[in-house]
């Protein structure tokens, strides 16, 4: 748009300009400022007035970088002006300023009036003295030439100059106290009087003097800022081979996926209770950290990412209490390849506004943040996280963020790109870097190939698969009844093996131990001894050690010797001595066992209590169904329903967004046509609250008088001519012509705002 200079005629209003825009440009505006599109505005005037509403303006300003803010601020300082003058005043090169101006135009923050470029009404107010503003006051309506200002400055005494510079650096406003307003500098007795006399400070009434914009510009060498703002600060980097980054990241990525799998598998059978406030208890988090062999912050991240990916939700546990349970999406997730699983997790993390970094810290009230607590999320998290990673991904391969100094330089760069983001940014960036490193999105300070693809919106799975450790399909069985998988096991194999043996140590490899208990567990779930032997022989590269074969046979031999009846809680066994053993077991007294036949015992204990107790006593009972068949028991895996937001695909929501924007554009166009068809001549009555506010703000900026209809305390409606001074907190401060006094008016009582043509 740099080539597009404003039309000599300009537009009467922003609404007019919007009407002249092609559909594509209008769509761009609605996409960049989505809040304008909902609810759908009636026509371009409503769109224009909505664009000037403070809350919408603040959102738009938040998207600007330092250069764009500086350009906008310069425009506020200069008032109406030309792009050329603007480029002079901003301390950056012209091309950059032109590009920034184009963006401001696209965002409808700047429009082309007949008098030149103008900031949208309310921009000055919304900018306030926030980041990216120069602190200069607007230029006078009829400014003296630059040469005149320079001359006046040159004639200043030293104390006066010092005072002037102080005022310029502190908002351009000061109170004068008893200073007299003199005509000749020669009469001045104080520096303030001298400045007033030379018209370098201008009285504004109420003892307040301001430093006009043109003076501030002259003090700063003709620019609104002393520092150049054209380019963002560079990142501090060091060199690291890309391959190394890829490999290290793939290792971490694999670990991250494994941790989620391990945790959710565990929670399938042992779900932790959800706190009444919805979070995860501190003790459960500690147990998680222990289970995963990680520290608590990493454990919190694993939990939060699982939740963000829709793999974890609350559901009622066996006792009906709310508990954290894997969702049915977990079953689908587990069936995909590790690389795809990783991509799912990282996409969820990138799009999640959750703040795992806060877990374990205390909030302002001194309460510790719990993982999974509903309020543990932040507004700018997604944007900051993505921005930080994109900056890193933009580094060339082989360059990584320098250790130590790299992170602060990233914060500084982000501060340039989004100056209006809150102070918590440094924390957010630090957490992003930590979390990314724990998930394998970064490694050694660099972004590996797969993560780059993911950030670009492409599928990283194929690339990542080649980098991840190859899954192995065998284990080494050893005579000390352990099995070692010398690498990551294929998922289905790992699950079957962990049923038959207990996991002793995890990591790149996994160590399993076979015990009578673990073998019995396998038998409990319906395996037979033959099947077990076959399974062990098929997964082992080495011969199955004799003690292991014996262990399986021996456990299978005693397995099911005792059968427990369901209906009357009877215990029967063909083996009389086994029953006697049980009957006389000192710890069985409380079970209320009684012998009713040589091979049958009965018990008055309910089966669900009885069964574990019997197993405790070393028996291996089997539950018998009423028809005499053996019932196998396996702990049910708990599942919750996938939360709604995760059931929609990303593609569908993007398509929906596009469709919405198009519909809004169509609606506005038809509204405009309707307005055109309306008979003209009727008094323009900007009666909508945002309309009258916009009109008042405009009057404040143009320092023009307006006619307002006002309903006073007694319900009497009057019309007054006022000169608005400021609109703040629902109050209009204005000079009332009728009472010739500065008064405040409640905005909601103003019924009509009409400009007065002078």
């Amino acid at each position: 748009m740099s080539g597009r200079s404003p039309l000599p005629s300009g537009f009467r209003s922003l609404a007019d300009q919007l009407r002249s825009w092609p559909d594509a440009r209008l769509s761009r505006l609605l996409a960049a400022r989505p809040d304008l599109a909902s609810p759908v505005p009636h026509d371009s005037s409503q769109l224009a007035s909505r664009a000037a509403v403070r809350s919408s303006l603040l959102r738009a300003l938040d998207q600007l970088d330092l250069l764009e803010l500086t350009v906008l601020d310069a425009l506020v300082v200069l008032g109406h002006t030309t792009p050329e003058r603007l480029a002079e005043v901003v301390n950056a090169d012209d091309v950059a300023v032109a590009a920034a101006l184009a963006r401001l135009g696209d965002l409808a923050l700047v429009w082309e009036s007949p008098a030149g470029l103008r900031p949208l009404t309310g921009v000055a107010d919304a900018l306030g003295s926030g980041p990216g503003t120069s602190g200069l006051q607007p230029c006078s309506a009829e400014p003296p030439s630059a040469a005149q200002v320079d001359k006046r400055l040159a004639e200043l005494s030293d104390p006066a100059r010092a005072l002037l510079e102080h005022v310029a650096e502190h908002g351009g406003e000061a109170t004068t106290g008893t200073s007299r307003h003199l005509v000749s500098p020669a009469d001045a007795r104080t520096p303030a009087e001298e400045l007033l006399a030379r018209r370098l400070l201008v009285p504004r009434g109420g003892g307040v003097v301001v430093l006009p914009g043109e003076v501030g510009l002259a003090l700063r060498g003709g620019h609104t800022t002393r520092e150049a703002v054209g380019t963002p600060p560079a990142l501090l980097t060091s060199e690291r081979a890309g391959e190394l980054v890829d490999r290290a990241a793939a290792g971490t990525a694999f670990e991250a996926v494994r941790r989620v799998e391990l945790l959710l598998d565990h929670w399938s059978t042992h779900p932790p209770t959800a706190l009444r406030t919805g979070g995860l208890g501190v003790r459960d988090l500690r147990a998680t950290a222990l289970l995963l062999h990680v520290d608590e912050p990493t454990a919190a991240l694993v939990v939060e990412v699982s939740y963000a990916a829709g793999l974890l939700a609350t559901a009622a546990d066996a006792d009906g209490n709310p508990a954290w349970v894997p969702t049915d999406a977990f079953d689908l997730w587990i069936a995909t390849s590790p690389a795809e699983r990783w991509a799912t997790l990282v996409r969820a993390w990138l799009g999640s506004s959750r703040l795992p970094g806060l877990v374990g810290r205390r909030d302002n009230a001194g309460k510790t943040w719990n993982a999974l607590a509903p309020e543990l999320s932040g507004t700018h998290v997604v944007e900051t996280r993505r921005a930080a990673l994109e900056e890193l991904a933009a580094l060339p391969r082989d360059r990584v963020l320098a250790t130590g100094t790299g992170a602060p330089s990233l914060v500084a760069r982000l501060a340039w790109l989004r100056p209006r983001r809150p102070r918590t940014r440094a924390d957010l960036v630090a957490w992003t870097l930590e979390e990314a490193a724990a998930l394998g999105v970064t490694a050694l300070g660099g972004v590996p190939g797969p993560a780059r693809l993911l950030l670009e919106g492409r599928d990283p799975a194929a690339t990542l698969t080649t980098l991840m450790p190859e899954p192995v399909d065998h284990v080494l069985l050893q005579a000390d009844l352990t099995a070692v998988a010398p690498g990551p096991l294929e998922s289905s194999l790992a699950r079957r093996l962990s049923l038959v043996a207990d996991v002793e140590s995890r990591g790149g490899a996994t160590t399993y131990r076979f015990t009578p208990g673990s073998v019995r567990r396998a038998l409990d779930t319906g395996w037979g001894a033959g099947e077990l032997h076959e399974f062990l022989a098929s997964v082992s590269r080495t011969p199955v050690p004799q003690p292991l074969t014996y262990l399986v046979d021996d456990t299978a031999r005693t397995f099911g010797t005792i059968r427990v009846g369901h209906a009357e809680a009877f215990l029967r066994a063909d083996d009389e001595t086994a029953l006697a053993e049980l009957l006389h077991h000192p710890r069985a007294a409380s079970l209320g066992l009684r012998r009713i036949a040589p091979t049958v015992l009965i018990s008055d204990t309910p089966i669900d209590v009885l069964l574990p107790r019997l197993r405790d006593l070393g028996a291996a009972p089997v539950v018998e169904a009423p028809d005499g068949t053996v019932r196998v028991s396996r702990p049910d895996l708990l599942r919750a329903r996938t939360p709604k937001e995760h059931r929609r695909s990303a593609g569908a929501s993007a398509a929906r967004a596009t469709a919405t924007v198009a519909a809004v554009v169509t609606a506005i166009r038809s509204g405009d046509r309707a307005a055109d068809a309306r008979p003209t001549g009727a008094a323009a009555a900007p009666l909508t609250p945002s309309g009258s506010l916009a009109a008042l703000r405009e009057a404040v900026e143009t320092r023009s008088s307006v006619l307002i209809g006002y309903v006073d305390n007694h319900g009497t409606s009057t019309e007054r001519v006022v000169d608005p001074i400021s609109v703040e907190g629902g109050q209009l401060t204005a000079h009332d012509h009728r009472s010739d006094d500065v008064r405040t008016f409640a905005v909601h009582r103003i019924s009509v705002v009409r400009p007065i043509e002078d």
Binding site: R247, A479, D480, V484, A509, T511, A580
Partner: protein, 546 residues
């Protein structure tokens, strides 16, 4: 992908695939800082412990070397947290130093003042420290040197000991290698002990630990106090020293219940030292009777608690501990390390076996089924009676007879815990029995007869568990043991591991009662051996080759 033999787990275990071509190099590289935990047939497990890492620091390895080694041999990416932890742990060593001060004697000093402050405020070190000399050093009561080191270790700030050792009274001792020579691993063990100053040498039974002790004495060239488990063992030490070194009978004294001689080399039993009369230990003076230059602790895993306390006072003297199995059922391995010294040498049993220095062994567990009548008795018995009932079933006697018959010309030991059972077996097998009440003289006679082949079958109680050298034994049958004691099992197997003249393998049978606590204890006991690579075959009594 790096194709290394090592897999580093996040729980600080290291898995070494021993069939890998670089496995031997890797083992050598990680041995200084990682503790060997298990060495079964395919994958050895090492563990990184703070103690191991500190010992590595003491031996002059730094964190960077450790990290480099892990990275060089690791097959997969090494968990970053683990590397950080290694560096941090190793950095804790040596912040505190024990030094000799020209005027104040022993002082504890530090380069890191906050650490010293933290330590001075700890309850554990109260009373061990004296006057504060300046900001960075404080006087240590010389008698508390050992206790202080132990306490600092527990606080996680191990002190580096620069105070050195007293030389002791010089006494010429040298090895006399006529017809035998020091084996490589024995030399390595003695030398790494000597360079380390003090410490423990772990070698399998039958691998010649006595010789390592003698070699250490030859290094020290000073008067030596040797502490052993019992009188028979003391005599064996004496015979061995006379045979292998320049020492003569007159230079070696025995200090036991029967004889109380103090000579340049004195062999004392733990029992006599820990004898308590009217609240005091009357024989404790022995420790100060001479200016000992070296103290040898035989079977250090059996060190009784009072000896720990006495050892704490002996920190200025060189100490060597010898053992086959540094597993203590009381879990006080840590105390052994801090008081006697870190592990200086360790070799997997199977390695020594493959070099031919100890005999291979075939371990068999035979399971007998209790007859119904006995099962009924067992089922209704009090829990504390159950182990004895299960251990002493008459079924076992039958099986022992079968096994003895299966090895007709091989010297056989039958080992048990319960005297009644042993007496019964002895009567059944018509063999002599050695138990607690057997006199030392009678024991000596029977052992000698067994060694010479006069007797081919001997029934022994736990008195023969340790330090009894019976090189000719080829078959051992274990009928009962001290519940789940792993080291007892290892020691009993050790009786058989002296290399056989014809290279035959030894046979070690354990007889257990199926489905009883006996079988459970057996499983626990066997675990140590299984982890050393001695796999048990399990047979049913019915399947025994008749």
């Amino acid at each position: 992908m790096n194709d290394g033999p090592l897999i580093v787990q996040s729980d600080k275990t290291l898995l070494l695939e021993i069939d890998h071509e670089r496995a031997a190099d890797c083992r050598k590289a990680i041995a200084p800082f990682a503790e060997l935990e298990r060495s079964p047939e395919h994958i050895h497990t090492y563990r990184l412990t703070p103690l191991g890492l500190w010992n590595a620091r003491a031996a002059g390895h730094d964190a960077e070397q450790v990290v480099d080694t892990l990275l060089a041999y690791s097959r997969y990416a090494v968990p970053h947290a683990l590397l950080v932890d290694v560096a941090e742990t190793m950095a804790r060593y040596g912040r505190l130093r024990l030094e000799k001060h020209p005027t104040h004697g022993l002082v504890l000093s530090s380069t890191d003042r906050p650490v010293l402050e933290e330590v001075l405020r700890a309850k554990k070190v109260k009373g061990m420290l004296g006057e504060r000399l300046d900001d960075d050093s404080v006087v240590v009561h010389p008698s508390e040197r050992g206790n202080l080191k132990q306490a600092l270790l527990k606080l996680g700030w191990p002190a580096e000991d620069f105070a050195g050792y007293v030389d002791g009274e010089a006494h010429a001792i040298s090895l006399v290698e006529d017809g035998w020579s020091l084996r490589d691993y024995q030399r390595d063990a003695a030398e790494s002990f000597w360079h380390g100053g003090s410490g423990v040498v772990v070698l399998p039974c039958g691998a010649g630990k006595t010789i390592v002790g003698a070699a250490a004495m030859a290094h020290a060239q000073a008067t030596t106090l040797i502490l052993v488990t019992n009188t028979v063992s003391a005599r064996q030490w004496k015979d061995e020293l006379v045979k292998r070194t320049s020492l003569t009978e007159d230079e070696i004294g025995e200090y036991s219940g029967a004889v109380k001689e103090i000579r340049p080399v004195t062999i004392a039993t733990y029992q006599v030292l820990t004898l308590r009369r009217k609240g005091s230990y009357p024989h404790l003076d022995l420790l100060d009777a001479r200016d000992w230059g070296l103290i040898v602790y035989d079977e250090v895993h059996l060190l009784p608690a009072p000896i720990f306390r006495m050892t704490a006072d002996l920190q200025a003297r060189r100490r060597i501990g010898l053992t086959a199995t540094l597993v203590r059922e009381d879990g006080r391995e840590g105390d052994v390390f801090s008081l006697i010294g870190p592990k200086r040498y360790d070799a997997p049993w199977k390695d020594i076996e493959s070099q031919g220095w100890i005999a291979p062994a075939d371990c068999v567990e035979v399971r007998v089924t209790l007859p119904s009548s006995e099962r009924l008795v067992y089922a209704t018995a009090e829990p504390e009676e159950r182990y004895r009932l299960a251990s002493c079933t008459a079924e076992k006697t039958r099986v022992v007879r079968d096994i003895v018959a299966a090895h007709p010309d091989q010297p056989t030991l039958v080992i048990g815990q319960y005297i009644d059972q042993l007496d019964e077996l002895a009567a059944e097998l018509d063999a002599p029995v050695i138990k607690g009440e057997t006199t030392v003289k009678e024991r000596q006679r029977l052992f000698d007869a067994f060694r010479s082949g006069e007797i081919g079958l001997l029934v022994v109680s736990k008195v023969a568990n340790f330090s009894i050298d019976l090189p000719s034994a080829e078959v051992a049958i274990q009928v009962s043991g001290s519940f789940g004691s792993r080291q007892e099992e290892a020691q009993r197997l050790g009786r058989l591991l002296r290399p056989k003249s014809d290279g035959k393998s030894a046979h070690f049978y354990t007889i257990v009662s199926r489905d009883t606590v006996d079988a459970e204890f057996a499983q626990n006991r066997q675990r140590f051996l299984a982890e050393q690579g001695y796999a048990y075959r399990i047979l049913d009594a019915e399947d025994l080759p008749a």
